[in-house]
Symmetry: C2
DNA sequence: CCGCATCCACCGTGATACTG
DNA sequence: CAGTATCACGGTGGATGCGG
């Protein structure tokens, strides 16, 4: 007999699955800031991301309709990515989460430190 | 040379790490709806969660200062959990994410179906 | 009633090398 | 330039059983 409120969270968990993972946020953020972004620009803009992880992240976001991918069949090839309208709304909402994170960052760190200290005793 | 906007996302990723995982959202949501919640009430309210996963989730949230845990040394023992103020603000923000998820749920599913269909060809 | 310990399967992640 | 292919690893999540 699950609680009613818990039924509501299913769509939320779907979003979080999409956006969690180490790199998705970085890609969305960079693309939101720059507009149109090329593959190599992602590589330069996001520290420590590997080619493989960048590709996988881009594919997943494209699959979910958050990113469009356009190939220019030139030599050398160019591939451009941009956010969809849905993704832009998403990043705006995520920025509110960022606000929360900044306001409570110190609090969370302190709580964690205290908890760990208490466990050690 | 990382992009400036990408530097901003660090706190956001911290939040997401905390809230991602299969169960954290369910715990926060249920606790937000009920106020004070006992261990067994979580077990009944959240479908398919195991004792172990519930325990781990509660510990992590407590560690981060999002949940308080109070033990009543009675027989049988009672343990009550409630959200901290920080957690309440967090769940409010998350509800905005839920709004986004509901509004775009159909869109995302359609995009995904089409992408998969296109890949199969 | 509440929680911890152990063991195990899986998948996301990364390193490396190759291609149109 | 923009990927793909393959291999290997570690951490997270799940099943089960014991304990205060």
């Amino acid at each position: 007999m699950p609680h009613a409120a818990v039924q509501e969270i299913c769509p939320l968990n779907e979003v979080l699955d999409r956006v969690s993972g180490k790199w998705a946020i970085g890609v969305l953020t960079l693309c939101g800031a720059e507009g149109v972004v090329r593959f190599t620009e992602f590589e330069r803009g996001i520290p420590d991301i590997s080619r493989r992880m960048l590709t996988l992240t881009l594919r997943n976001l494209e699959r979910d309709g958050l990113l469009t991918r356009t190939v220019h069949p030139t030599v050398p090839p160019k591939v451009k990515y941009r956010l969809t309208e849905a993704a832009r709304e998403l990043t705006e909402t995520l920025s509110l989460l960022t606000d929360w994170a900044k306001r409570h960052q110190a609090y969370v760190h302190a709580a964690r430190a205290e908890y760990d200290a208490a466990s050690a005793r």
